[in-house]
């Protein structure tokens, strides 16, 4: 069932981030992906400026390299808690989904629309389980401000 595959994708994404395996993070996205973190205030007002913006997978990979080698930051410990999965499937087979997130101490919000689509290798149930990736993941936070350094992926 499609719902289970999406839940599984989100669960594996969350588990990788919360257990400090950010090297796995780019693997959840397709090559021409979009990853953004934007405040709900901006989103509601139609202001497009995000606090984080990656518009292809190389920028996502660069984040990982920077976090491991270049950036200096207080290491956070997030525990993503997800609920309220909503999704719909378009005619081309891609899916728009969103859910509610309560992340670290300082972040709540939702992650819509997380367009996902099947990857290239799709052979059997095991590949199917791994096949969905994020086309666009936009994390919209509804806290009034980001209380600590937002260095780590959401």
């Amino acid at each position: 069932m499609l719902r289970l595959e999406l839940t599984d994708l989100q669960d594996r994404y969350v588990a990788a981030l919360d257990n400090d395996r950010i090297e796995e993070w780019p693997g959840f996205f397709v090559d021409d992906c979009l990853y953004e973190i934007v405040s709900k205030e901006n989103e509601d007002a139609g202001f497009p400026a995000p606090v984080m913006h990656c518009d292809n997978i190389r920028m996502v990979r660069d984040r990982v390299v920077a976090l491991r080698n270049a950036n200096i930051y207080e290491k956070p410990q997030y525990r993503h808690c997800l609920s309220g999965l909503e999704w719909s499937q378009a005619e081309d087979g891609s899916i728009a989904a969103s859910d509610q997130l309560r992340g670290g101490e300082h972040l709540g919000g939702r992650a819509p629309p997380a367009y996902t689509r099947p990857g290239a290798t799709w052979t059997g149930s095991c590949a199917l389980r791994r096949a969905w990736r994020f086309k666009a993941k936009r994390c919209i936070y509804d806290t009034l401000r980001v209380q600590t350094l937002l260095a780590f992926p959401i």
Copy 2:
């Protein structure tokens, strides 16, 4: 599987409330529904007085109209997080279910028993996905007090 349908119902309910689509809220209930918010202190002691009580769907709809047109309140931003779904099915096909809730900044609790039952239209898998509605939803909060105005649905 019944478990998935109940999870889906709760997820759609949560997503509607957390994304400020309260116009969809009455659609999750049957016409002769019960919706209550009651403190765990009262519930444990057998005191029936709730802080919110709607005993039919017209009262539920009236809440939406009041929230949109009449009430003055600080707009909350809830992020429902659900876990621990428990359910059992009675002989008449109705279901008693409960789960744990961590809601906004000020509310934790559980939502038992959320009696649900199938709606009138039940034709195919799509209708089936939409068919379950709440017969009675009682939200029992275990914080010692409600810290802010409890204007919005839980």
Copy 3:
């Protein structure tokens, strides 16, 4: 599907604890079980000392008896919120799983690896639903300290 059975096991476990039915708690473990609560600091550094340690089901049962009859403690009210289920199955059919936990006011962490395995009685779908039990459940908390008495099971 195996994922659903594991989710169901965790949900029933959480529901029993959060609704103060700790008499059911030992029933989630096999006889030669391991139950531990350990800080992430210790776990990361390879220090084995846990703050709680039960290495068979009699020690687990003893906790229940102690909590009901002997111990004096401020009663907590936990609301476990789970996300990020990860699991893999070994050749002997046992499963290693972990997920993210946000528990009471003072506890976050993960519960890895929750080795589970089928119980002895496995007859039909209803028995199957009940059949998975915890072989080892290690709760690793990542808060810097335990802010209140850690009397109740996690």
